[in-house]
């Protein structure tokens, strides 16, 4: 251990006495901070005077939510059951204003809901038919339970039922209103004795990836859905027939105020009754708020866009720290001074990893904290994240730089020639990230970000991806295919394999 301490100290002295390496390390901090504090991004939140702030409703779990839908409801107390039959869902999509689509969005929703109140962000439980994902039970924004697949037509209508018993809400579906199948049960948080019960319809933003030549992007727009219901009935404790129409969170009016609203196509949002039949037209979503093309604003990941430039620097410093010794034959002096070559490699790994970790930590911490302020100052909506996530993003950025530099050092040891090693390291680590962020279509990009060392960028994902929320979960919007530490494990795996190969070859080879 004492011998390792001496070797470690020697390698640290080597590192700090080459001006270029020290400057490179300072530049790593510099580019991360510079990119983070000078974002090109502008927004309109809070820039148009008081009232223009972008404030999102907060759900029962403290997370930010989207809560926009058309609601036909009444207040009911105690336990009870509500049933309805859904006979049709039709949609209007406005992704291309010249050519409105009539397809129903896959995550358009129409069904029954029980809510703590009409206020946005209220806790709830709902059962619904979706445009493309069958029957679902959802509650409190983030929870989603699948029922039977398939949509709804006049020939094959769907019966839906919600039953409240104390704190528990049970959802059931039926094809004939006679034989019921339970979809799920939920205990929405803090459901009061009197709840708002009724029908709802809503349809999220449409978005799709766009690839034209070397450019890629996203296009989309708001959509709406119309659900046609009949046989709306309450029983087993709930009585009442005074159904009241509302559009919750209407984009052009005060939330929950008017009985109607203006839809994205300029047509009416709201409800119409014709005898027993009720048509509900809605637009929006009842779901956790997400950052990205289909959502609003950006995540804190956006502040760390400079990481890839820093990564190039870290990779170069990591490689040259070892390849420069081979170039000059200095490696013989090193091995004459410390004959245990694995010990030398371990010391170099510790020095490079430690330096890059400290540099990355300082840079990411400053940038995440200050960069958010700058973005908000520019009117960009930045999704707040829990402190734990913020710490993971900061520490993860440091770990990403450190382990990438260690991988580069392994390549430098293996290949010995600086230019070859730097090129290989950049091709392996930085290029997959750049391609995935820019020109590659989603599937290829996601595949690259699973298998290449760039998978570790998952550490920077700040917002969770919800499968039940329509959005483009692209790497460019800060969504990565692997879980944060799984992505890191991919990079660490690469580094471990390359280091092991480097240790073996360097032991066998004549210096």
């Amino acid at each position: 251990m004492n011998a390792f301490a001496d070797t470690l100290r020697a390698e640290w002295t080597k590192f700090r006495t080459i001006r270029g390496w020290v400057i490179g390390t300072v530049a790593i901090v510099g580019v991360i901070v510079a990119f983070g504090l000078n974002p090109g991004m502008k927004g309109s939140c809070g820039t148009n005077g008081p009232g223009s702030e972008c404030a999102l409703p907060v759900g029962p779990g403290g997370e930010e939510v989207t809560d926009n839908f058309t609601f036909l409801h009444q207040a009911l107390t105690g336990d009870g059951v509500v049933t309805v039959r859904l006979t049709a869902m039709t949609g209007v999509g406005l992704g291309n204003p010249d050519e409105p689509s009539h397809a129903v969005e896959p995550w358009a929703k129409a069904g029954l809901i029980v809510r703590a109140g009409t206020g946005r962000g209220s806790s709830y439980a709902a059962v619904m038919v979706t445009g493309g994902h069958g029957v679902r039970m959802q509650y409190d924004y983030t929870h989603d339970v699948a029922g039977s697949p398939g949509g709804v037509t006049a020939a094959a209508p769907r019966w839906l039922r919600l039953s409240r018993a104390g704190d528990t809400v049970t959802a059931a579906e039926s094809v004939d209103g006679g034989r019921w199948t339970t979809v799920g049960t939920a205990r929405p948080r803090g459901l009061p004795s009197t709840v708002e019960v009724g029908l709802f319809a809503t349809s999220p933003q449409h978005s799709e990836e766009l690839h034209a030549g070397l450019m890629s992007g996203a296009m989309g727009g708001p959509t709406q859905v119309t659900g046609t219901f009949d046989h709306l009935a309450t029983r087993d404790g709930w009585t009442g027939t005074a159904w009241r129409p509302d559009v919750i969170g209407a984009p052009s009016g005060p939330a929950g105020g008017a009985s109607g609203g203006v839809g994205p196509d300029g047509g009416a949002l709201g409800s119409e009754r014709a005898g027993d039949a009720i048509r509900l037209t809605g637009s929006g979503d009842i779901a956790p708020a997400v950052a990205g093309a289909g959502g609003l604003g950006v995540s804190i990941t956006q502040t760390l866009v400079g990481t890839f430039v820093a990564l190039i620097l870290a990779v170069v410093v990591g490689t040259v720290f070892v390849s420069a010794e081979y170039r000059r034959g200095l490696v013989r002096t090193t091995f004459a001074a410390s004959p245990d070559r694995s010990r030398v490699l371990a010391a170099k790994v510790t020095v490079v990893g430690g330096v890059m970790f400290v540099a990355g930590l300082a840079a990411a911490a400053a940038t995440v904290v200050l960069g958010q302020r700058v973005l908000r100052g520019n009117g960009v909506y930045v999704h707040p994240v829990p402190a734990g996530t913020e710490v993971r993003v900061v520490v993860g950025t440091a770990a990403l730089l450190a382990v990438a530099a260690i991988l580069a050092l392994g390549l430098g040891t293996l290949l010995r020639r600086g230019v070859t090693a730097v090129t290989t390291a950049v091709l392996l680590i930085v290029l997959p990230y750049l391609l995935a962020m820019t020109v590659l279509p989603g599937d290829v990009a996601r595949w690259l970000l699973r298998v290449s060392p760039a998978a570790a960028f998952a550490l920077q994902q700040a917002s969770p991806e919800y499968p039940q929320v329509a959005n483009l979960y692209t790497p460019a919007d800060g969504y990565f295919p692997l879980a944060p530490w799984a992505g890191f494990a991919v990079l660490a795996g690469w580094a471990a394999v390359v280091l092991a190969a480097a240790a073996v070859t360097q032991r066998r080879r004549d210096a």
Partner: protein
């Protein structure tokens, strides 16, 4: 002390070491000479654990180099003076080496003083002349105050003053009880500093002897006498010598020491104008021993190069040895 025993190593089809065996004893300078490709540098790299031998062993103070905890405290070596980071200062180069041996900056300043680099210690080694780099390499070798030193071609690139300094330093180190191995492809450089010489050729030891023994082996006791007297040859032959008449009144005598020849001629009243004992140099011994072992022998210039026949276009003759 270094013990090299039966080292063998091949690089592809080339045999670099072919049973190299010798010992470097403390208290003396051991010269390690041989033409290019004789295996001198390879032997040193094997001693330092840098190259692995196919067979045989090299021990430092009885241990394999890789088993030494702070090896620079056992052996100091200078292999390649160019092996420094050009961007690092001389002092920092020595500082990381010192740290690797558990030594501090004070020792660095001491060796800088020893080799006379104190004034340029904070300058980047990239700007050093080869001679200054040799001094820096010597400083690195001395860092751990080791009982054994191994210097590969330390005179390369040095100016005359540097060569004098280096010769004095090696002698002083040996006088202090250290085992010093100095390699060179030029025997003449070792003439006055080596106590013992290991002559290598084609990966083998051709001779391993003290300088005195080596000279005696080459010297054949010839004495040249110049005398106009016709009876000189008869007198010397009668005295027990074997005489060859070389013409011009020059006789080459063997079998009699120079003093005996002088006494014999004087006693018999034979006048002579010159009496010279033929003394072999280390260079002679070396050339004699390595005659068959030179890897890259210059072809006979006259035969190989038609231009050499023309005295006006005489090309400098190639000599076996590393270009400086």
């Amino acid at each position: 002390m270094i013990t090299v025993n039966g080292l063998r190593k091949r690089f592809g089809a080339t045999t670099a070491l072919d049973g190299m065996t010798f010992t470097v004893q403390p208290g003396q300078v051991t010269g390690f000479v041989g033409p290019n490709g004789a295996g001198k540098s390879t032997t040193m790299r094997v001693v330092l654990g840098l190259d692995a031998a196919d067979a045989g062993e090299a021990l430092v103070d009885g241990h394999p180099y890789r088993a030494l905890c702070h090896p620079l405290r056992h052996v100091g070596s200078l292999l390649d003076a160019a092996a420094v980071s050009p961007g690092r200062t001389a002092r920092n180069h020595l500082l990381w080496l010192a740290h690797s041996q558990g030594l501090g900056p004070r020792r660095v300043d001491e060796v800088l003083d020893t080799v006379g680099l104190t004034s340029v210690a904070r300058r980047r080694a990239g700007g050093f002349s080869l001679g200054m780099r040799q001094r820096l390499g010597i400083a690195a070798a001395l860092l751990g105050d080791p009982p054994t030193l191994m210097l590969d071609e330390p005179f390369n690139g040095m100016d005359p003053e540097g060569i004098i300094w280096m010769r004095r330093l090696t002698r002083e180190l040996a006088a202090g009880g250290r085992a010093v191995l100095v390699s060179s492809h030029l025997m003449s450089q070792l003439q006055d500093i080596a106590d013992h010489v290991v002559v290598a050729g084609r990966g083998r030891v051709l001779a391993d002897a003290s300088v005195t023994q080596l000279l005696a082996a080459v010297s054949d006791g010839r004495v040249t006498v110049r005398s106009a007297a016709a009876r000189a040859a008869a007198v010397l032959a009668g005295g027990g010598g074997s005489v060859t008449v070389a013409g011009d009144g020059t006789l080459v005598v063997t079998g009699l020491p120079a003093e005996a020849i002088a006494a014999l001629l004087s006693r018999n009243g034979v006048p002579f104008s010159e009496l010279a004992a033929h003394r072999a140099t280390l260079e002679d011994a070396y050339l004699e021993l390595t005659r068959d072992a030179v890897e890259y022998r210059a072809a006979d210039p006259a035969a190989a190069d038609p231009a050499a026949a023309d005295p006006a276009a005489a090309a400098p003759a190639a000599t076996p040895g590393k270009a400086l």
